[in-house]
Symmetry: C2
Subunit: 345 residues, 2 copies
Amino acid sequence: MITVYSDAHLQHTGLKEMDGNGWREAVESPERASNVIRVIRERLLGEVIKPKSFADNKLLRIHDADYLQFLQSAWNEWVAQGNTADNARPFAFVGAGMRHADGRSIHSRLGRYSFDADSPIVAGSWNAIRSSAEVALTAAELIISGEDRAFAACRPPGHHATANYCGGYCYLNNAALAAQSLRDSGMRRIAIVDVDYHHGNGTQTLFYRRSDILTVSLHADPADEYPYFLGFSDELGEGDGEGKNLNFPMPFSTDWKTYSGALQQGLTQVSAFAPDAIVVPLGLDTFTDDPIANFALQQDDYLRMGEMISALQVPVLAVLEGGYSVDHIGDNCANFLEGLEMGGV
Amino acid sequence: MITVYSDAHLQHTGLKEMDGNGWREAVESPERASNVIRVIRERLLGEVIKPKSFADNKLLRIHDADYLQFLQSAWNEWVAQGNTADNARPFAFVGAGMRHADGRSIHSRLGRYSFDADSPIVAGSWNAIRSSAEVALTAAELIISGEDRAFAACRPPGHHATANYCGGYCYLNNAALAAQSLRDSGMRRIAIVDVDYHHGNGTQTLFYRRSDILTVSLHADPADEYPYFLGFSDELGEGDGEGKNLNFPMPFSTDWKTYSGALQQGLTQVSAFAPDAIVVPLGLDTFTDDPIANFALQQDDYLRMGEMISALQVPVLAVLEGGYSVDHIGDNCANFLEGLEMGGV
């Protein structure tokens, strides 16, 4: 399987965040993607190639023009307006009854285009963000050109981002861009199977009214876990998308037995949808030792997860999302990819 | 003029916040209200009395029951769920297309009931918040009982809070509670004249569809300044409230000449409304040396501001809101109150 990867993500570094225990270094670190690539190379999982460049119109298939402009200029605006903190981050958001107003202040723009305070922007962020999207788009082109498996080693991740706001360490929705690119190539139905520990709220929102893209997400119950305000089981799609969104919220401590049952249910729906390709937002934060998550999957479970998806006999594009156990993310990811190679079209 | 004040606000202390220059002690400090009271006593502006107690039904006239329950229990939930930071604060919010979902996690509940990350809750917050509301309600009863002037030395402030979310250091909307109490006493029309540097988004939202309460706010243009997403001049009220909301957004560096012109326009509308009483959310952060604001009012200007409002010959209840120059807030506040006493009914 070919992996697409770019070192540009290293420029998105020095990130900080707040949690219930205070102010700290962000867990979404460059070492995550670097370790994934190191293990893929060590385990000889296949060629690692660099992404191609893509014009803005590819990004505009999913994201709004004003949002792209914001992401590109936010750091320079932050500095130009006299802010000295080394992470640009919002503190005020668009509350209920408020307006998505077009402000001059970078604090206004950060709040308008974010739904959380923990998706900071630093000097090198835009290069990394754009490159991450191009990694996913390049991997999609591999599938379009006939590969039956491809892996986009994206960083920053993407599945929490919508058309016009970032959150959860995500800025552009890499998996959604890839899915749309597959559609634009002539494929008629795409299934997205999001196995990140956190609900893929951005992806759900983007495709909620579409019948051509089935979105399935397995994740921690949002009543307990981020993103808190989307990802419940009664969210089934709307309009043309009615019945084309499936959420499997699960309790803390979920292990492979429970998880695999939900995954099998989701995959049965995917199979009935008869997709031309599957995109897997691949989070490894379901791992038992993940520092910010509370599921209990073991290392070998990722092999089985890959095998189950592979058994559908449909082309699969895996897109790296979360996973914060830096010591284990590489092996867990490689296990999944090995499982994915066991089947194949 | 009688001032209502409670030391309970001292329990809302040790607050921290984030701004463009990093993580720091919050400017919304106990010293603010303490200095206001010290100067009022030094300048012999009148009796300082303690607030009465009020039953929950007085708070429920403005705020939702679930929100009150949240404010009351948030700190204990924060601790019980293993969070060790000394300020409970949200990091994730309800983005566009998300649900105001009822979560078990305190992180979910903080995000659902807030629109910014800088309105922290500490162990003593609820006592201070409730007491601040009772200060305003007690002052309202002075007006109801025939006083023509009263001052509620509230802390924490209130004008950014809506029925069900906090923000901008505000939790319960003290001025709105007072205005509603005046209405409930039989007064038919109440005007609110918000002179805080920041738009009173909570008050506007609460009364936006009501014809019995005219809301006027003079403030920094939200395109440049917090709260960013409300407070523009085209927000005129809706339904029964059409024409009963007036915003005067002004640019950075606004001085008394510009400010007093806008205030006179607002007061002309207030006069035409023929209110039975006026509530003034009194922020002193329009002061030239305020550390987080950018207007240029001088100390004597607050005397004139009080005089202009006093000249309407209507009972006036002033409610303390923002103002972060601890060294000057007391004198600026006392100047306003002295101006207010010059006229009178």
